[in-house]
């Protein structure tokens, strides 16, 4: 039954032109732009104020398209109108997979992750809200 449901979901995703990012481990979120689907998780899983953390990111191209070739990662607090005090460094792990190091949220509140995906064509920006207590 479970296998049938999974198959149906995959088929539905395929119909929509979606793809499955090859993220290792359970994603914190899965978000998409017109051309890409992106999944990511934090490492460690629980982000703490004032502690450096990393992001593991995977992305794939919809409609059997190529995955993005380049990723930039940032984060900001829209209500406060400021970003991080640190610039994340992004290391490619494999086509469509990256590890971003050096992120640090220096205050509690509403943050937003920003992902810039670059491939053929214009850069696409994805964002994901993140509440830090």
């Amino acid at each position: 039954m479970k296998r049938l449901l999974a198959g149906a979901l995959l088929a539905a995703a395929d119909l929509c032109g979606a793809c499955e990012p090859a993220l290792e481990g359970a994603p914190l979120a899965r978000i998409d732009s017109p051309r890409y689907v992106l999944a990511f998780r934090t490492e460690p899983a629980r982000v703490a104020v004032g502690e450096h953390f990393a992001l593991l990111v995977a992305a794939c191209g919809k409609d059997n398209g190529e995955p993005p070739s380049e990723l930039r990662v940032d984060a900001h607090m829209p209500a406060h109108r400021h970003g991080m005090n640190y610039a994340a460094s992004v290391e490619p792990l494999a086509p469509g997979r990256w590890r971003a190091e050096g992120l640090l949220f220096h205050m509690p509140g509403d943050w937003e992750f920003l992902f810039d995906l670059r491939g053929a064509g214009p850069t696409e920006r994805l964002s994901y809200p993140y509440r830090l207590e």
């Binding site: 004032g50 450096h52 970003g83 190091e101 050096g102 640090l104 207590e133």
Partner: protein, 378 residues
């Protein structure tokens, strides 16, 4: 008449009934995030003698040693005075010459991410080198420090016990080791528990009677601190500091036509420092301790930002702000109450707003801040 007088007398004589404000669940969560105290701590991997008892003893001796300075007259402890909560009570520091910034306490310094008002140093040992070499502070040099540690028999013996070998021939290596011993000593300076900690822990274990013994004015001030004051956004966690930097509208002109650029200059100095955690002096073979130094970036808004200080023992460390401009905690509360947004150099950042506190609210906020300090000796 007699009855009224008696009633008045009773009101004066009876202690105020203990009362606990009806804090919401969200408020309680925020309050609990400011503890427990003291915080857990692990030795600094960038300093191979961090937590080493012999190095702590050597560091304590060096902290009070005037022969480290250029003319043998200035100690670290000349400005970081133990009886004054390890600061000097002056608006701005002065040793061989006046400086532009306030002497911060070295209490709880081991919990800092960055060191100095501008964060120009990324380790406590690197920060400890700076005043030794500054001509306005201790006016020393590597050769002088190394000579003292090689030639004074007692200090040399302490060095050998702490570091497992005699001081090397390289003067700079001895200077760095002296700073690492100084850091090991300063890491031991942790403030004790406070009335706030008793209140916070009583809330944590659900002991309403014990929590209600925390003065009502302090409870009201705490509610401002974590609520409309938004203070706990930066003064975060058990140490009441998020380890980063903020522009809070304190003027940063230091002389006619000269400004203290704060964090902006601090990042430049950090990146240029020969003692930063990216240097060969970092004892951490994994270099994980250097992640902050690798990733920190200078931004326009850093101009005029200064380190968010811990508020523990704040009642014992007047005057306040990076330049000691505010004499009392009431002045600090009034500063935030009427903050001049035009003075901020924040690129549109919207954290601070004038709080427009009334007189009682200012008293309450001060009562809360005072409760973050250990009781003074009688």
């Amino acid at each position: 008449m007699i009855r009224r007088s008696l009633l008045a007398l009773l009101c004066v004589a009876a202690p105020a009934a203990a009362e606990l404000l009806p804090f919401t669940d969200a408020e309680v969560r925020r309050i609990l995030s400011h503890g427990p105290w003291p915080m857990a701590w692990t030795p600094d991997p960038s300093n191979r003698v961090s937590g080493n008892a012999a190095a702590i003893a050597l560091g304590r001796e060096l902290f009070f040693e005037p022969r480290l300075s250029g003319d043998g007259s200035v100690r670290c402890a000349s400005c970081h005075i133990e009886a004054r909560a390890w600061q000097d009570g002056r608006a701005t520091a002065a040793a061989f010459a006046p400086l532009e910034r306030n002497t911060p306490s070295v209490h709880n310094v081991r919990f800092n991410r960055w060191f100095g008002w501008d964060g120009a140093h990324d380790s406590l040992w690197a920060q400890s080198i700076r005043p030794l070499l500054d001509p306005r502070e201790m006016r020393s040099d590597a050769a002088r420090v190394a000579r003292l540690l090689r030639e004074d028999a007692a200090l040399r013996a302490r060095y050998e016990t702490a570091f497992g070998a005699a001081p090397p021939d390289d003067d700079e290596a001895v200077l760095v080791d002296a700073a690492k011993a100084l850091a090991a000593f300063q890491e031991t300076l942790v403030t004790g528990r406070t009335p706030f900690d008793e209140f916070r822990d009583a809330l944590a274990r659900g002991d309403r009677d014990a929590a209600a013994r925390y003065p009502l004015a302090a409870q009201r001030g705490l509610r401002i601190f974590i609520g409309k004051g938004n203070c706990s956004v930066c003064h975060f966690g058990p140490n009441f500091a998020n380890g980063e930097f903020a522009d809070i509208g304190v003027p940063f002109f230091v002389a006619r036509g000269a400004v203290d650029s704060g964090r902006h200059g601090g990042i430049r100095a950090l990146k240029a420092s020969r003692y930063n955690l990216l240097s060969r002096w970092n004892d951490d073979p994994t270099r994980r301790t250097a992640a902050k130094t690798r990733h920190v970036i200078a931004q326009h808004r850093n101009f005029g930002e200064f380190r968010v200080p811990s508020l523990r023992n704040v009642a014992l460390t007047a005057p306040y702000m990076h330049n000691g401009r505010l004499a009392t905690l009431h002045d600090v509360a009034r500063h935030y109450s009427e903050i001049d947004l035009d003075r901020l150099h924040a690129d549109g950042e919207r954290i601070l707003q004038p709080l427009h506190l009334d007189a009682r609210e200012i008293d309450d906020l001060v009562a809360f801040l005072e409760s973050l300090s250990e009781a003074r000796a009688p």
